[in-house]
Symmetry: C2
Subunit: 238 residues, 2 copies
């Protein structure tokens, strides 16, 4: 049987993001049932999907669009903690641990997102070892990423961290069709918020990379012209 992936995301079975999702471990029958326990929304660029300190009421499942997860410091400066794209789930950490959100999710571009009912989700993971196991692996990956970020922030200088940040963006969103340009448009401030620096320093570092012929900058587009040199600059050991 050939699966009809029509892109009708109200029907999980036909969701275009299905193959990239941890929910793909569910069989067709369960996916069809899932569709009856969720609602769909769209979010404009810049809109909050959920907010720090809010209580989760469901699991977010990204059908389309890019999202940043941020925490805001006491002085108002943001830190980008994670990035998400289609097929990703959001809000699983708070849902699993039964806590409030400790960060906010904001749309980086117009998004289409489904919300799976909380109780249905709890029931699903109890009935389905594979589903919970996939989610644990996801959280484990996030933990590893976070701890690598800790290493980076505590031991590396700005130049190395910025190189890592660009490589992280590449790993997360990939390139556009030209095979060199990062497939995501972030403001300089957002790049700084991931890297853990000021906007001005981020700008200076990017323009230094540009002078070093490692990248090319055109507005918010970033083209990586010398990937080996960028990797070398990042000083990654493992």
């Amino acid at each position: 049987m050939c699966l009809m992936v029509t892109g009708d995301h109200t029907q999980c079975l036909y969701c275009s993001a299905r193959v990239h999702s941890v929910l793909n471990v569910l069989d067709n029958e369960k996916l069809a049932d899932l569709s009856t326990h969720k609602s769909c929304s769209t979010y404009k660029k810049g809109q909050y999907i959920f907010s720090e300190n809010g209580m989760p009421y469901g699991l977010f499942c990204v059908n389309k669009g890019k999202i940043k997860l941020i925490a805001t410091g006491f002085d108002g400066k943001d830190q980008i903690l994670r990035l998400a794209k289609e097929g990703d789930i959001l809000g699983y950490r708070a849902l699993i641990s039964g806590e409030r959100y400790h960060c906010s999710a904001i749309a980086l571009e117009d998004c289409s997102i489904c919300i799976i009912d909380k109780n249905y989700f709890y029931q699903s993971i109890q009935d389905n070892f594979q589903l919970l196991f996939e989610i644990v692996k996801k959280i484990s990956g996030d933990l590893k990423t976070a701890e690598e970020h800790i290493m980076s922030l505590s031991q590396k200088n700005l130049r190395e961290r910025m190189a890592e940040a660009l490589l992280f963006l590449k790993a997360t969103y990939g390139f556009t069709t030209d095979g060199q340009t990062l497939n995501v448009m972030l403001s300089r401030e957002e790049i700084a918020d991931y890297t853990g620096t000021s906007t001005e320093s981020a700008i200076r570092q990017l323009s230094e990379f540009s002078h070093d012929k490692i990248i090319e900058l055109t507005g918010k587009k970033i083209k990586i012209t010398d990937l080996p040199k960028l990797i070398k600059t990042a000083n990654i050991n493992d």
Copy 2:
């Protein structure tokens, strides 16, 4: 029936650390069975329990002692990522995600630790939703802690981070019987490795706290004499 907690940790049923462990969700029968699928070891202070890049062969379960989890930077400087104590499990992240260890575990003092067979562990989490769920909650907590650490490193100055570090040690290991002295002895270098600074700067900051009458230093003992002021210094929002 009254449980015999004799402290014989070769029998999980009677392990003194049981009540603090995620494994406590198992019933008596399962705990008894667990004892037949594990081995016990002791580790001297400073000894490696597992190493970065090693393959996990089982789940470590701490019966006694304190442990640091560290990652070593390319310049040889360590970063303390997590701390563990009796009742804690170790090595679950790599085991779940099926990867190599991305950090090393080192005994901060003489330890007694059991190793649960890997395949038995996999079988246990498949047969027992509650066990896996407890472990997910544990990893979720670790992720939250790690992301708070990221915030701290990227936005706070040394004074705030050091205050946070002392509060973290208090939250993890608590006080000794006097109700003020941290129940853990770390070298200045280890404190620096958690805080993300140099040994010299850590020493200077601790001695500044001492002058400010926030703490009292006696060798490696740290007595928190003004907890409210320490909390205020840490600038914690949530």
